[in-house]
Amino acid sequence: MSIIEATGLTKTYKSKSGPVHALAGLDLAVPRGTVKALLGPNGAGKTTVVKMLTTLIRPDSGRAIVDGIDVVQDPKAVRRVIGVSGQYAAVDENLTGFENLVMVGRLYHLGGTAAKRRAHELIDLFDLTEAGNRPVKGFSGGMRRRIDLAGALVINPKILFLDEPTTGLDPRSRLALWGVIKQLVTDGTTVLLTTQYLEEADQLADDIAVIDDGRVIAEGTSDQLKAQIGGHRVVVALIDAGHGPAAREVLGRYGEGEPTVSGDGRGIEVAVGDGPWALQHVLADLGAAGIGLHDAGMRRPTLDDVFLKLTGHMADRAAEGDAPDLALGKAK
């Protein structure tokens, strides 16, 4: 049985421009011991799902069960088995890293000695030794993020919720954090994480739920999702954008759909059934027509392609001001 089960979750917020349906009947199931990624753009409703499952906000309707406990009926029991690291580091600026972790331990009702011992362990685990004894105020974003994540792990939670855990981290910290998460999963923790980074979902998750406008619009492993939009894609880059229409016609001959053209008119791409066969023919035809190329090749579809196919828009539409996650998230 799934350790997280949500059915028909809805949440509507009032805003100046009318009601915003942050969640519009979202269903979700996460099997014990697996990693599930909620993938979607800003405003898709990812943060709202996490806040509901971690008892921070109540659904307008629908039901969510975490480790067999109804989140609305018995939020306190849910809080005893979960760890949460939100989108913004929830740490006390005036306490040291160590003091933050001890405080969290005390509030989980570990004894004083146990709370301190655990804080030391986490300081070591997250390589925070130098930061452990200084107030958080002076730390970099990555350091805060690690203290926040350490705070989520004070009790070795059965279920760990991570809302965009690597947003704002430099590449090195991101890799380190991925390492920690992978280790936790090996040790049996169930993880639900949200991300806008397709690569992150690819790297960490057993299973991905693509979310848009408060609903799950596709679900499956990374490979299953990619398979939904066919096998390979043939990509060419033209020397002269003026050859665009002719090249497009050539790619269309061998593709399984309309070729797409990049913004500058030089990059042309199409999904194909048999990659090597299509690429050979495309190159032969382009050569015969005297169209010069900078680059040509084939690639496997990325989750970006999946997203575009499923939603009709690209994953990054963060500029849209009325997105609920944006309206509720704070500007930092």
Partner: protein, 275 residues
């Protein structure tokens, strides 16, 4: 591996006490490490006592006593009322920084954050009170009552500030940023504390300010403290019920604030999340 299953189950009272204390300690550490807050709590009371007693002392006549005696209860009341607004801005700040989300995701007592908030602000107000009393004594203020009456006066002022902290804490959870609380308290509390008997006898005010001052709860608090410190002059007390019965008025005010705002705060806290 999972420690979750071995977490102790505490009875609600132990949890309430322990969690409340944990959060109080956290807030006190914050005060200790933010020199600006300490300065605010220490320097401002000194400044107010010195400025008012020295600048206005010669100009304002109070029947039957000198201005410094008259002034001190007023300054005490004004300072603790303003001190309580910190409960509001601090809640708003915690909400903004997201630490409230951390607290709310922990299996802690649902009132601990509010208990910790109001406790630590009571401590801050107590520090301010002590500083003000010492400054007052230095410029000639004297308590002309018994020790129990003196202690009752201090207790009444601090209890009022404690219950007012809950009012401000609720507001702090309802506003969009800490600045709103700071600005609003400036706009509301300055008139509320100045249009009262805190700094001048209310019978010197023109109508309708005079009526406002006589019914102003801050006036009752000041009157009660003055009587308990033995600092009243010989002027007759205005003939309105709240001034004739300042203790009853203040105690009713404190009870109403606690009975109404403590439950409202706890309910509000159960549904807030960072914005």
């Amino acid at each position: 591996m999972s420690a979750a299953s071995t977490l102790p189950t505490w009875n609600p009272l132990t949890m309430w006490y322990s969690d409340g204390w944990t959060v109080t300690k956290r807030n006190l550490t914050k005060i200790k490490r933010s020199p600006d807050m300490l300065v605010f709590a220490v320097i401002q009371p000194i400044m107010f006592v010195l400025l008012f007693s020295q600048v206005y002392g010669g100009a304002i006549q109070v029947q039957g006593t000198d201005y410094t005696q008259f002034l001190m209860a007023g300054i005490f009341a004004q300072t603790v009322v303003f001190g309580s607004t910190f409960s509001g801005s601090a809640m708003a700040q915690d909400l903004k920084e997201g630490i409230i989300d951390r607290f709310r995701s922990l299996p802690m007592s649902g009132s601990a954050v509010l208990i910790g908030r109001t406790n630590s602000d009571l401590a801050l107000n107590t520090i301010s009170m002590v500083i003000m009393m010492l400054t007052g004594l230095a410029v000639g203020w004297r308590v002309n009552s018994s020790f129990p009456e003196f202690m009752a006066g201090i207790g009444l002022l601090l209890l009022f500030s404690y219950s007012f902290s809950w009012v401000m804490a609720l507001l702090g959870m309802m506003v969009t940023s800490p600045e709103v609380i700071n600005n609003a308290s400036f706009l509301i509390l300055f008139p509320l504390t100045f249009i009262s008997n805190a700094f001048v006898p209310s019978d010197t005010l023109p109508e309708p300010l005079r009526t406002f001052a006589e019914w102003n709860p801050v006036s009752s608090l000041v009157q009660a403290a003055r009587e308990l410190f033995g600092n009243v002059g010989t002027a007759p007390v205005p003939d309105v019920w709240t001034m004739q019965h300042p203790f009853a008025t203040v105690l009713i005010g404190i009870s109403v604030m606690l009975v109404v705002f403590v439950p409202l705060c706890i309910r509000k806290f159960a549904s807030i999340s960072s914005r």
